[in-house]
């Protein structure tokens, strides 16, 4: 093969509508921010190539719609995710309280093989708003929630100012990569006549 093996990681971004999922993604991929709110319909896809510890891999980012009416799309969209990013707005208690629902819904619909250790990352967004004065969810509270869910990594970001976005996604990539490493082995059968041996012999050229 001409190049080293590249890995593709599917990353799902979940959270209430308006918490800034699309803005985070746009800030990360396109380094852009818009104050205008446009609701995502269904899902939106972006890809970004990243390098991590001398390995090249591609993030396939699924930015989903936060509105409840899109929840029925879950199974189709969540299948085969390598990492799930939960986003809430530090200025909205409701969006924080809903995190449990998002997490559980994801685990039910995606049904990952090892739900206990499935990599989540939590992002508290919009820390820039009103100089932090309108903030209602404390960092302490968020961290406590993360600890209770098996030490989910936590980042506080501002998609508007680009604060911490790169760091958060770097962690997302790292965790997604980690979970991808215990891949199932591909063990094809050989047509069986008597002895059963399961192996894929490599081509032999004498």
């Amino acid at each position: 093969m001409p190049s080293r093996r590249r890995t593709l990681l599917k990353v799902i971004i979940l959270g209430d509508s308006g918490v800034g999922k699309t803005s985070l993604m746009n800030q990360y991929v396109n380094k852009k921010f818009s104050n205008q709110y446009k609701a995502t319909i269904g899902a939106d896809f972006l890809t970004k190539e990243v390098q991590f510890e001398d390995r090249l891999f591609t993030l396939q980012i699924w930015d989903t719609a936060g509105q409840e009416r899109f929840q029925s799309l879950g199974v189709a969209f969540y299948r085969g995710a390598d990492c799930c990013v939960l986003v809430y707005d530090v200025n909205s208690m409701k969006s924080f309280e809903n995190l449990n629902n998002w997490r559980e819904e994801f685990l039910i619909q995606a049904s990952p093989s090892d739900p206990e250790n499935f990599p989540f990352v939590l992002i508290g967004n919009k820390v820039d708003v009103d100089g932090g004065n309108s903030r209602v969810v404390s960092e302490k509270k968020a961290k406590a929630w993360c600890a209770s869910k098996g030490n989910i990594p936590y980042f506080e970001t501002s998609a508007k100012e680009g604060t911490n976005v790169e760091e958060a996604f770097q962690c997302i990539a790292k965790n997604a990569l980690k979970s991808g490493e215990e891949e199932e082995l591909y063990l094809p059968d050989t047509i069986d006549v008597g002895t059963s041996n399961q192996q894929r012999s490599t081509g032999c050229e004498c």
Binding site: D44, F45, A76, G80, E184, Y186, I191, E205
Partner: protein, 618 residues
């Protein structure tokens, strides 16, 4: 950490699904799908910020051809899968859809206005002119423009001159050139991870791949299945094989049936390389990434895709033999049969894509599609051929796991492959992974017989001579001139003299149903260029499809005339004949000629067909 933004793509504004009405009532289902599909906006890539992708450089002539040919089409070149209607196949799958070609949905204030992409696109829209000129230009630029230009004029050349491997890897769904390609093939997993794309880099197309999965899964969620989306001149054909999704996006005007058949073969080729045990990997782990398992097989897939436009075996589902004296083929068959008696499942002597002879163990039968995929795999993998040792002596023998999807898709066989010369090779298939040395011995036995009877040089001569030629059909000249005298139009005899065979016969294909074999005549003037040959095959494919429509009862003959050809098809329980004549050919004479062609084929059937190959008589 980040190195580059690889894409934003149509994905940047993405597929947007609305599900305002999650009803599951089957009666309203198709309506629901309609309304839902309507709200999918696969919009223009106008948010693409990476100028290097969208800036269409005029350096590449071929691509410019494509661009002007297709500039004003909807669908993919319009920045997304924009559908005007979905034709379902059977009732329950029928979905009427009308997708709107919406312009940038999520253009944000202050962002770059109409990107280079859309402005370039507008320019092309202007240049493509009226419908007629578009159609003509379109006809000229087939989906492989590059090949059409590079290739020589004869059939053998166009097989040989084709360059293996994936091209245009630098493209992605934001590149205008990528969007203009006439035929795309994609393989992806049901979680939306890309596995194969004919053009462009799979990873850069991850967003596009996700879009395709979203469409398929979305319809599946409603308990339905999407088979085809029509978008202007584009057809988007879907095939779901368990956890594997296959998609073809084409504006080549091929039939839906044939495009779906091509996806089937593409899937078969993947199974040949990996077996269906990949399904288990996805069952255990939905995020399974298959791409590494297919490493280095781009050439196999691209060669198969190429064969869709030149190899009739891909739609006739039959194989073809190299013409050989009966006794020689028999002698070869005998030694291959002997080898099979020693525990080999199938033994085949092949010359390029044609069969010299083959044999199978008792009760083992080989499907023509397996034969096609197997020979494609061997012919397109460089490593099977020309392995030279230090003394430059050919020692090309290989032992490789191979799965025959129609024989047993679940498990591997093991294939011993040896090339006697550049064209002729033997394939021995066994169930035993430790049989290498036995198969090597078998090969030596086969080689001895081949050398003794000098078959290899006869094979080389046969390649050089080619197959049947319409000019050589033994039809007496008087009949021909009598046509001229009856001639309604003086142009008829003139066209038939020197171009093609008698009475304007240009080409024919004969498929023996009982033998699962076909022969086709060599291409003769005026069907000389690759483009003309491809277009003739496409005409045959349509004819074939129209004769094999399920539920329409057995058709026996079809006579069809258009500005390009007079086509005649004749289907009997024993054989099918497809013949192409000059568009001005006389109908009565054409029918007469077809009878003579069939007679001629029967006269030489011992030389052009492999007779009595027991594994095939099923």
């Amino acid at each position: 950490m980040a190195t580059s933004d690889s894409s934003s793509s149509p994905s940047s504004s993405g597929t947007e699904f609305a599900d305002p009405n999650p009803s599951t009532d089957p009666e309203t289902n198709s309506e629901r799908v309609q309304s839902q599909l309507e709200s999918m906006n696969l919009s223009q890539p106008s948010e693409v910020s990476d100028g290097s992708h969208t800036e269409f450089s005029g350096g590449d002539d071929d691509d410019n051809d494509v661009a002007s040919a297709n500039g004003n089409e909807g669908g993919v070149s319009n920045g997304g899968l924009v559908s005007e209607g979905v034709a379902g196949i059977s009732g329950e799958e029928e979905i009427e859809v009308s997708l709107r070609a919406e312009n940038p949905v999520e253009m944000e204030a202050g962002e770059e206005p109409p990107s280079p992409t859309s402005s370039g696109y507008d320019g092309e829209r202007g240049s493509s002119g009226g419908a007629t000129s578009t159609y003509k230009a379109d006809d000229v630029s087939e989906d492989e423009i590059r090949e059409a230009n590079v290739d020589g004029d004869t059939a053998s050349q166009h097989e040989a001159a084709w360059l293996p491997g994936k091209r245009h890897v630098d493209e992605d769904d934001a590149s205008m050139s990528w969007r203009k390609r006439k035929k795309h093939f994609f393989i992806l997993s049901n979680s939306g991870k890309p596995i194969y794309s004919r053009y462009g880099d799979e990873h850069k197309l991850a967003g596009f791949s996700a879009t395709l999965q979203a469409i398929i899964s979305f319809v599946e969620n409603g308990g339905d299945r999407v088979n085809l989306i029509k978008a202007g001149k584009h057809q988007v054909v879907f095939l779901v094989k368990g956890p594997i999704y296959l998609v073809c996006i084409s504006c080549t005007d091929e039939t839906y049936e044939y495009l779906r058949g091509q996806l089937d073969l593409l899937y078969g080729q993947m199974i040949l390389i990996l077996t269906k045990s990949i399904d288990r990997c996805f069952e255990k782990n939905a995020k399974f990434d298959m791409t590494p398992l297919l490493g280095g097989t781009d050439a196999v897939f691209s060669s198969l895709v190429h064969s869709f436009s030149w190899n009739p075996a891909t739609f006739l589902h039959a194989y073809t033999c190299l013409p050989l004296p009966y006794a020689l083929r028999q002698a070869t068959g005998t030694i291959l049969q002997d080898v099979c008696a020693s525990g080999v499942l199938f033994s085949l002597l092949m010359c390029r894509h044609k069969v010299v002879s083959l044999a199978g163990a008792q009760k083992a039968s080989l499907h023509p599609d397996d034969l096609l995929l197997l020979s494609n795999f061997v012919m397109s993998s460089e490593s099977f051929r020309q392995v030279l040792n230090i003394l430059s002596i050919r020692t090309s023998e290989s032992f490789s796991p191979i799965c025959l999807p129609r024989y047993n898709a679940q498990a591997f066989l093991h294939a011993y492959v040896h090339f006697f010369d550049d064209d002729t090779y033997v394939i021995l298939l066994t169930t035993r992974s430790d049989a290498f040395h036995h198969l090597k011995d078998c090969r030596v036995r086969i080689e001895t017989v081949l050398l003794k009877s000098n078959i290899l040089s006869v094979v080389q001569r046969s390649i050089a001579e080619g197959g049947m030629r319409v000019e050589d059909l033994p039809i007496d000249r008087r009949r021909r001139s009598s046509t001229a005298n009856q001639g309604q139009d003086t142009a008829v005899p003139e066209v038939s003299v020197g171009t093609g065979g008698p009475c304007g016969l240009w080409h024919f294909m004969y498929r023996s149903i009982y033998l699962d074999q076909y022969i086709n005549s060599e291409f003769s003037p005026p069907v000389t260029s690759h483009r003309q040959q491809k277009s003739l095959y496409r005409a045959y494919q349509k004819l074939y499809a129209s004769m094999h429509v399920k539920g329409l009862g057995p058709h026996k003959t079809q006579y069809r005339r258009d500005e390009n050809y007079t086509l005649l098809c004749w289907v009997t329980p024993d054989f099918e004949l497809y013949a192409a004549f000059d568009p001005l050919a006389d109908k009565a004479m054409a029918i007469k000629i077809c009878n003579q062609v069939c007679q001629r084929v029967k006269d030489v059937e011992n030389e052009v067909f492999l007779q009595g190959a027991s594994p095939f008589s099923w």
